[in-house]
Amino acid sequence: MAGPSTHADAAAELATRPGHTNLRATLVRWLLITVSLTFLGALLAAPLAAVFSMALEKGWAAYFGSFADPDTRASIRLTLTTALIVVPLNTVFGITAAWCIAKFEFRGKSILITLIDLPLAVSPVVSGLIYVLLFGLNGWFGSWLQDHDISIVYALPGIILATMFVTFPYVARELIPLMQQLGNDEEEAAITLGAGGWFTFFRVTLPRIRWGLIYGVILCNARAMGEFGAVSVVSGNVRGLTNTMPLQIESLYNEYNMVGAFAVASLLSLLAVATLVIKTLVEGRAGYRRR
């Protein structure tokens, strides 16, 4: 065993090294820690705290009262419905794409991967715009849809499509490197033992990727429920009908209904905290380190 192996051991040895002035090192250390924590505090902790503080500004009664508003309730229902449709679909896509990309070699694979990464680099507004261009009144299919009295834009289908566009990469991006790292050995062994494709997937692959899958799903869900820009463009902002929770927040805020707006925001914040907690647990659980 040569020198110290972990950063903690190295720090311990460093402290005993001749010429290492404890004063200067400690100063630097505390400076960095303070600066980092202040930066984080101002940017992250403060907003979270502000949400809850503003939501409860007028007391618990007012807080719970804001959820009695029918429009707010409708927005919650809409968000949940969207998530319930989008997340499973994207999960299926994610698993399928990961299987295809991780287990086989073929030309054009890198194009597929780039396409999967694309939504992450595109502005949410553009993500909504493209669907409006397809299905909006002046869009490609606009007149056809109007003739058949089908609304996509300014209705639930549009919201679902836009949300899907924005969130589909999450599960795939989690699973692809994971499955690449795990390799094909076990699946090949299962095949030679006579198992079919579905059997192999459910009994061999799924158990090994389950933590990555959970991780991807909760991220996908958090983003699906919280998406603002894309949905804003596509939904038309009709209160009570096509407002998701983030849009409802905007509406309430623009009406200066602070308690209402922050109350809804507090729900989403709780979701965010829960997401982070689950993420930390998953990482600890399987020693699973996301790159």
């Binding site: 065993m1 040569a2 090294r17 001749p18 010429g19």
Partner: protein
């Protein structure tokens, strides 16, 4: 002296990782620090480089005390096991790094770089990146880099560990030739004894933080002074023999052995002898042997290894005069024998064949602690005593056995005691000790229940006559526990100030005696007061402590030290007894006695 280490100690969480190590390395010498993992050798190297601070002692490089000097100002070159090359820099930039730090001019840097690349046979590789080189090439760049600033000392930390055998050999030759050409003082750390033999002018063997022996390779191989060195430097069979007035005996069979010292104090005692596998002679019958006859044996395993043949043989004589010590000191030990192909053709053997075994060359280890004998009222209790953690760990580390003996009621005349008698602590301990000493035991270990492995061992003798034996025993013990050694000199109260000089001199004498004749580095402390209370006070002051006590008067064990031995919760006490009439024989002082 190019490198001088004086009593260097480094502790990690109360345990000494490097324990009182003193070394002198001469100018241009190639010194190899050899030891198993965890022996502290890497830590010691890092301390010389200045990457780790030390808790006690001094480090000097070329006469300059660098103990508190920063690594970057020490002027050493260090080669790491994993090369530690700067991956984002070319080979040229890597090598020139030290010069760039010192703001050397570009032309000079280039010249030096070319010179070094030639030295390590990597000409033309200037613009390569480390990622484009093989392991062996990377290591050579690391060596060149470490030499750029013309350091006075070159340090290498297991530099060939990550490489294949063939590359390793090649690199060894490169390092050796570079070192000879430059004449630079070099210290290399390794756990591979073959490497040590191939490279070293001098080898220092370390274990558990202590430097056990220092010497040139052939001396250390032929005449090891300690069990550990004997078994680490090559395969070794360890045999228990008795030292009698007429020499060494296996049971009743006398053998001639090298390294034996004259018997001490007129008492027979047990010794450990080393028999190397290649020094074993085999014959079909006893008469065919030309060397010392040991026993008859049956061949259990034959392994062909190309140039040699290896045999594992079970000794047949019951009871066997020569007792073989197995890896855990138990009774299924096998004798390891190595034969050349020439010998094999002279006497081909199959599995199960019965042979006569002789020893061409035996080397007696000058170690006073040969084995342990657990003594208690019944054999069952003795077995339980043998399982005490401290006793078990000592016997495993010393690679020796723990025998069992029922001493019932301290009556009668028991069979002779061999080795160290071990008993449990308690109120009866003092009388038991006295009885054992009267009946022939020379050392007695009093073990309180669940005593932990000590981190500090106090040494004291009541009379100068017991000094030598006590130091020998303490030195042997301390090679097998990671503990600091402190000699406690005690003078009675009431001495006027000027009377301090003599005791202080006695302390210094004790320390230099320990160092020179027993290879033991120990601290010294002076206490004033009554012996037993001072000992008790110091022992109680910390946790995990132990005492080695030398006495010349048996009654003292019974009376004066009764309270010490019965103390609660108690500490392990190793009593060393030498009757005063030993001094009729002149004191023979040998090399690194143990």
């Amino acid at each position: 002296m190019s490198i001088a280490l004086d009593q260097v100690t480094k502790r990690y969480q109360e345990q000494p990782v490097v324990n009182d190590v003193s070394i002198d390395v001469g100018e241009g010498e190639f010194f190899v620090l050899l030891g198993p993992s965890g022996s502290g050798k890497s830590t010691l190297l890092r301390a010389i480089a200045g990457l780790t601070g030390i808790d006690h002692g001094r480090i000097s490089l070329h006469g300059r005390d660098v103990t508190h000097v920063r690594a970057r100002d020490r002027g050493v070159g260090l080669v790491f096991q994993n090369y530690a090359l700067f991956r984002h820099m070319t080979v040229a930039d890597n090598i020139e790094f030290a010069l760039r730090v010192r703001r050397t001019k570009a032309a000079e840097r280039r010249a030096r770089r070319k010179e070094l690349l030639k030295l390590v046979s990597l000409e033309g590789m200037d613009e390569r990146l480390p990622g484009q080189l093989s392991g062996g090439q990377q290591q050579r760049v690391a060596v060149a880099r470490a030499l750029a600033h013309k350091p006075q000392v070159l340090l290498l930390d297991e530099p060939f560990g990550a490489l294949d055998a063939k590359i390793r050999e090649e690199l060894r030759r490169t390092i050796r030739s570079v070192q000879r050409e430059l004449g630079i003082t070099t210290v290399l750390v390794t756990h591979d004894q073959e490497e040590a033999f191939a490279l070293a002018d001098t080898i220092g063997v370390m274990n558990h933080g202590r430097l056990l022996e220092v010497g040139n390779p052939s001396d250390l191989y032929a005449q090891p002074a300690t069990r550990f060195v004997a078994t680490f430097l090559g395969a070794a069979n360890l045999l228990l023999a008795r030292q009698a007035a007429d020499g060494i005996r296996f049971g009743a069979t006398p053998v001639s052995a090298a390294g034996a010292e004259p018997m001490q104090a007129g008492r027979e005692h047990e010794v450990v002898a080393v028999l190397r596998p290649e020094e074993v002679e085999i014959g079909a019958t006893r008469d065919e042997l030309t060397s010392n006859y040991i026993a008859r044996g049956a061949v259990e395993e034959i392994v062909f290894t190309g140039a040699l043949e290896r045999l594992r043989v079970r000794l047949l004589d019951e009871p066997c005069a020569a007792q073989l010590l197995g890896p855990s000191g138990n009774d299924d030990a096998r004798l390891e024998i190595t034969r050349t192909q020439h010998e094999r053709r002279a006497l081909p053997l199959a599995q199960g064949a019965q042979i006569a075994i002789g020893a061409r060359r035996l080397h007696v280890l000058p170690t006073p602690l040969s084995s342990f004998l657990a003594c208690a009222a019944t054999e069952a209790e003795a077995a339980e005593l043998a399982r005490e953690p401290l006793l078990e760990s000592l016997s495993t580390r010393m690679k020796t056995r723990v025998g069992l003996r029922a001493i019932d009621g301290l009556t009668g005349t028991p069979a002779p005691f061999s080795g160290v008698a071990a008993i449990s602590g308690g109120t009866e301990a003092a009388s038991t000790v006295e009885w054992l000493l009267r009946h022939g035991a020379a050392e007695v270990l009093v073990l309180p229940r669940n005593a932990p492995s000590p981190t500090r061992v106090y040494i004291h003798w009541t009379d100068e006559a017991a000094r030598r034996a006590t130091l020998a025993v303490a030195a042997s013990l301390l090679r097998h526990v990671s503990a600091e050694a402190v000699y406690l000199g005690i003078v009675p109260e009431g001495r006027p100030g000027s009377g301090r000089a003599a005791p202080m001199r006695a302390l210094l004498d004790a320390r230099s005696d320990a160092q020179q004749h027993h290879g033991l580095e120990m601290r010294t402390e002076l206490a004033i007061g009554e012996t037993v209370s001072e000992l008790t006070r110091n022992l109680s002051a910390g946790s995990a402590q132990m005492l080695v006590l030398g006495i010349t008067d048996i009654t003292q064990a019974g009376s004066a030290y009764r309270s010490l031995l019965a103390g609660q919760p108690g500490w392990p006490v190793l009593i060393v007894y030498r009757p005063p009439e030993a001094r009729t024989a002149p004191d023979v002082v040998s090399g690194t006695a143990a």
